[in-house]
Subunit: 414 residues, 2 copies
């Protein structure tokens, strides 16, 4: 079946899905979870095939690890679906009500988008997560995962579709583009009228290709060149603890700290101990000349270091003259993801949060909290780094839009 035919089926199914009750959609999620668990051996077989192909292709390290499933991982995927099923369903709710002098009542009502496209890489759990979030929010979904996970993803989707069907919901709500040809992905990016929103989830290359080629609305996700600025008025122990957490708790993710900016008034007191602690944990530090005067064993940082999202145990450090230089550095190199200041001075904090243009701006907390679960959204389909529609973690509410329903008694416009 072509990608257009799949998108047409998704579009048709989306109309049915949107008309279901919240209970029916929640039931769909539970049945999807049950089928995923019941079919785990089948999924693991498929995963084994993908892994063998990966080995032949010389795929190793983190990429192979992300691809590999286990019974435990499948159980976690099912559990995530059940949790999504329990989230509060806001479809059909009136967001705002306007009463006009001419007697018209204008209701702004929350509705699904219709059909959402998701293009993603390697990690097969995204298949279940994305499908679950879309179904819960009343949207049909057209998935296109990485070629290296094709058999695994196809097996997962088959189970999810069976689950929907057993719950009395048309399985056409979930479509998977199983043709690995890149032209299918390109076609998908241009299906105006069939796909309402496209969400790329993956590395910088995927995001860029989507933005370049798509003619349907895209939500940009992911790249996080995140900074923490330690102000002169910071609590040193708090600064140390937050910096360690933001760099070390999961260096491979987009909300990890990549550059530490330190006020010159606190640099000599903070940096020697912090650099030692980080180095002890295996972090390679690259610093500006002033930071290297304080900690001589730091490697020199180049222009590329300020730009790079390491996603690894590497950290850039820069000593700045104060808040203005920190704000300017973030404006130049930041990716509008997550930025933090550590300070005990509320005026400095207020200036930082006003001036820094990012999805999430923190005062005295780790950038690692930019996450749907940590925000209380339950789960997320990605972290938006654009400003249109949604910023930061996108949960089920961010996968909806609204329409105006206007009730009159025969009003005409003068």
């Amino acid at each position: 079946m072509t990608v257009i035919e799949k998108a047409e089926r998704a579009r048709g199914a989306s109309k049915v899905l949107a008309s279901l009750s919240p209970e029916q959609r929640a039931k769909g999620l539970l049945f999807m979870a049950d089928e995923l668990e019941a079919g785990r051996l089948h999924i693991l077989d498929a995963n084994q095939e993908d892994l063998e192909n990966a080995d032949k292709a010389g795929i190793t390290g983190p990429m192979r690890r992300r691809l590999a499933l286990s019974e435990t991982k499948i159980g976690m995927m099912a559990q995530a679906l059940r949790q999504i099923g329990l989230l509060q369903d806001n479809l059909g709710k009136i967001v705002q009500m306007i009463s006009r002098p001419n007697g018209l009542t204008i209701k702004k009502v929350r509705v699904p988008f219709g059909a959402i496209g998701v293009i993603y890489e390697s990690r097969p759990n995204v298949t279940a997560d994305a499908a679950g979030l879309c179904i819960k929010s009343g949207n049909a979904v057209i998935l296109r995962g990485g070629t290296e996970a094709l058999k695994t993803n196809t097996a997962i989707v088959a189970k999810l579709r069976t689950g929907l069907e057993k719950a009395g919901i048309t399985p056409e709500c979930i479509q998977y583009i199983d043709n690995p040809d890149r032209s299918e992905a390109l076609t998908m990016m241009r299906l105006r009228g069939l796909i309402d929103v496209l969400i790329p989830r993956g590395g910088a290359g995927l995001i860029k290709a989507t933005l370049e080629n798509a003619s349907i609305p895209v939500i940009e996700t992911g790249t996080g060149n995140c900074h923490i600025y330690v102000d002169a008025a910071a609590d040193r122990e708090m600064a140390r603890s937050i910096a360690m957490n933001a760099k070390l708790s999961n260096p491979a993710v987009c909300n990890a700290m990549e550059t530490l900016l330190v006020h010159e008034g606190i640099a000599e007191a903070l940096l020697p101990g912090l650099a030692q602690d980080l180095t002890d944990k295996g972090v390679e530090i690259r610093g500006c000349p002033r930071s290297r005067e304080i900690v001589p064993y730091i490697e020199p940082a180049t222009e590329e270091d300020w730009q790079e999202e390491y996603l690894d145990l590497v950290l850039a450090i820069k000593v700045v003259s104060g808040l203005d230089e920190a704000i300017e550095h973030i404006a130049t190199y930041g990716t509008a993801h997550s930025e933090a200041i550590i300070t005990a001075d509320p005026d400095v904090a207020a200036k930082f949060t006003r001036a820094v243009d990012a999805a999430a701006v923190y005062v005295n907390a780790s950038t690692r909290f930019t996450d749907g679960g940590e925000f209380g959204f339950g789960a997320e389909i990605g972290i938006s780094t654009q400003k249109l529609h949604a910023r930061g973690p996108m949960g089920i509410n961010e996968l909806t839009t609204y329409k105006y329903v206007i009730e009159g008694t025969g009003q005409v416009r003068q």
Copy 2:
């Protein structure tokens, strides 16, 4: 100056603009209005040049009329700016507040986009309206109007910039792309990191070109193939009055009715009189075979008639077997702009409003109300027909986004 340099200046200025108080921005709007009025003779001179070039180019009819300014029209533009200045300023307001178990406070705060691009055609009043709405909502604006209005738009922008300057706001907040070369518009559509949102406002060709070429986020506006469905349970006089209003009050605009769908149970009672009334007002009617059995002088409608946005004194009429056929017709040919049902049956109305996927769905009212002013937004930069970010009339609130400001006391992620 190149379009990139202008966008960079706008970007820089946007940071200053966002930091101003609501009173300062409101003052900017008042001064922009004053300068526009004070400079009216200069603007009219420039407009005269554009009109002479239009005459040489053989531009006549509605297009020439839209281009022509007068002292009265300039006064109305100034008045519109003053009204925008008085609108409630919601920047910095907390949209939502989340308290997390770990003690983090997450505030969702309304902020400007930054820099907004607006590409538009002919009507010079859009220059002042768009600039006013952007400045009021804290955004710098990069304008690119039609070549035929170049001198007029340049003159208007000069006055608006002077107004900003006199109000103590950097005039770089308003930029105008005065190079008529199409490559400048294309460059503008791809300025990632400099322009946050692009709003095309004009005919179908402009919208399509923008969607095809832009790599920055676009809000699609404008095309309105709007339907009114008269149910069997409709009040006939109400149906007649609304249909006349939706077709005749301003046929050239996107919220005018283009196709009338009539339930077969009311067609014989409604159509003869209504067709006569419309014909008396100069409307050309094209109908389906069943409508032509009832009103023999109606011209036959072709497939193109169901697709076309006439924007003129032309109306397509189709007799349908009931609600389902009406919903299906709208799903096939509608542009997700404004759709209406006339019925006294609340169950039928509820089914229609649920099933029809459009920015504005009306019960017993004219589609002509889809308008920022009529919705109480004060003014609008356009009518969105896409689902991402904003649907329907976009006022100053729709020209803003949000950021999360998270306050902690040293929290780190487990």
